[in-house]
Amino acid sequence: MTALTEEKKPTLLQHEQENSLLAGTGTLFRKEVLRFWKVSFQTVGAPVLTAILYLLIFGHVLENRVQVYDNVGYTSFLIPGLVMMSVLQNSFANASSSLVQSKITGNLVFLLVTPLSPLAWFTAYVGAAMVRGLVVGLGVYVATLWFSPIGLVAPLWTLVFTLLGACLMGSLGLIAGLWAEKFDQMAAFQNFIVMPMTFLAGVFYSVKSLPPFWLAASHLNPFFYMIDGFRYGFFGVSDVSPWISLGVVLMGAGVVSAVALQLLRSGYKIRH
């Protein structure tokens, strides 16, 4: 008997493994997108409406009282901030709520028994979170065109900050989703960390208008750089150089992604 007649292995060859892993990652990504799309009234419609309400109320009250940059009305100033805020909050919400729901209802088991790698989980969850952030952000932008149409001076900057910000917040959402064991822990993460940091990052004002202490504090807030850099793409002016913001956001996205991936590798709170 030659070696060729050895019984055939019931397992896949290396490249078949990789192909099927890729297909599996695609399935998880599509499932995650489908999950929010099936309830888009709540996951896309509601945040767009919230952003429009902010724009209407603050724009109406402050339009003639606040002038942040020369030649930029307050409503116009507000729009990029609201768009980016929506991108960030919804990227976070998608990854975190999906994971925590699956953990609590127990259906995460269907994913845990698959051959999908930690990197596949990360790619699919963060990818779908980015899609939700982008869809909501685009929705807010399109809706605001009706109130105060603003164009983009440097769209590439805006795009880069959108993608990096969404990736950072999707990864952060993944971490929060892994960490939280109950819905109220999730809500605490959202209400006591994500909300204050976005609101204090200069969505509604330029941090330049703040007293020195709060100005310095704002510069320690990574959300500030995401929003400031994003806004630069609209007006070509910003509180700090977009290159500095890019550096900070790149580093932030890198660190948060690395932490999320490491938690997935270690099976933190999902493989006991």
Partner: protein
């Protein structure tokens, strides 16, 4: 000649949960050959689900190794999990999707493309064909259980693990399920089953392991287990109290009493003692011990060795 790997192999598997004082599993070693229908029995808390969780990658062993068709479940997890189909004990589902979507997604996770024919076959065989487009939320418990089975089988795993699949399930589903699983076993799939219904295990499993307090206390062919222990049982119904000295060895289920009897002399002496105690006996019969008798006897044999 090459020796084919065990379908499942547990080598000295131990597990102590962070929150527990006593270990859930202590040096459990078992090998299950390809094509076997294997039963894993034990009372609640004996460690059956812990063992299956380690196998599935839901939890990690504190010591020892587990492999599926020769693939280690930690270092070669992708191949190991591809070879495994697990029906979890808990009735879980994803409320966002319909039955057919659930199955397509599960198939997709394993990278199986063009799987519609097999998915249809699963739906037919598990009596789910008319529920294909129903949302998971709308299904009854029994129907959800069927979907769990279909999900576990969607990537045609050579090794199938069923963790108490018939808990709280009606007769019809049990029949459908065992018919289908037995067919898969005949076609070469290895089956590992945990159940509390011992008559099921007796009817289906060629070999059985019994766990108690995290240790294997019995491991043998089902027929040998049945032959090895007290093989004759005296069964009868009564409304009277049993004599005190017979209570420890009796298995009482409502009105039904079962007593071990090794031979005719012992049967006679038991009947004499019942008569002396003025115990009125109905529907008396002498039968062979079933797996439940063996199970009880093993579980009562003091602490695990």
């Amino acid at each position: 000649m090459s020796t084919s790997p065990n379908a499942l192999r547990f080598d000295s598997v131990s597990k102590t949960y962070a929150t527990a004082k006593t270990p859930a599993l202590e040096h459990v070693s078992l090998s299950i050959d390809q094509g076997e229908f294997f039963g894993l029995l034990g009372p609640n808390g004996a460690g059956k689900t812990s063992l299956i969780s380690i196998l599935a990658g839901l939890s990690r062993a504190s010591g020892g190794t587990v492999s599926v068709l020769g693939h280690d479940v930690v270092s070669d997890f992708a191949r190991a999990r591809r070879a495994l189909g697990i029906v979890p004990q808990e009735l879980v589902f994803d409320p966002f999707f319909s039955v057919i979507e659930t199955l397509r997604i599960q198939s997709g996770y394993f990278g199986v493309k063009g799987n519609e024919v097999w998915i249809r076959e699963l739906l037919e065989n598990l009596g789910l064909a008319d529920k294909a487009n129903a949302n998971m939320r709308q299904l009854s418990g029994g129907m959800k259980r069927r979907v769990l089975v279909a999900q576990a089988l969607v990537h045609k795993p050579p090794v199938i693990v069923l963790d108490e699949p018939t808990a709280g399930v009606d007769v019809e589903l049990r029949q459908t399920l065992w018919h289908f699983i037995a067919r898969l076993n005949r076609e070469g799939h290895t089956v590992l089953l945990t159940t509390h219904y011992l008559e099921e295990a007796e009817a289906l499993c060629g070999r059985i392991a019994m766990l108690k307090q995290g240790r294997v206390v019995a491991l043998d062919r089902t027929s040998s287990l049945l032959a090895g222990k007290a093989s004759t049982m005296l069964r009868f119904k009564t409304d009277n109290a049993l004599p005190q000295d017979l209570m420890p060895q009796a298995r009482v289920t409502g009105r039904i009493v079962q007593l071990k009897a090794h031979d005719a002399n012992e049967v006679e002496s038991l009947l004499a003692r019942l008569r002396a105690a003025q115990c009125k006996v109905e529907d008396l019969e002498i039968g062979r011990a079933d797996l439940e008798d063996v199970f009880l006897e093993i579980m009562q044999e003091g602490p695990a060795a």
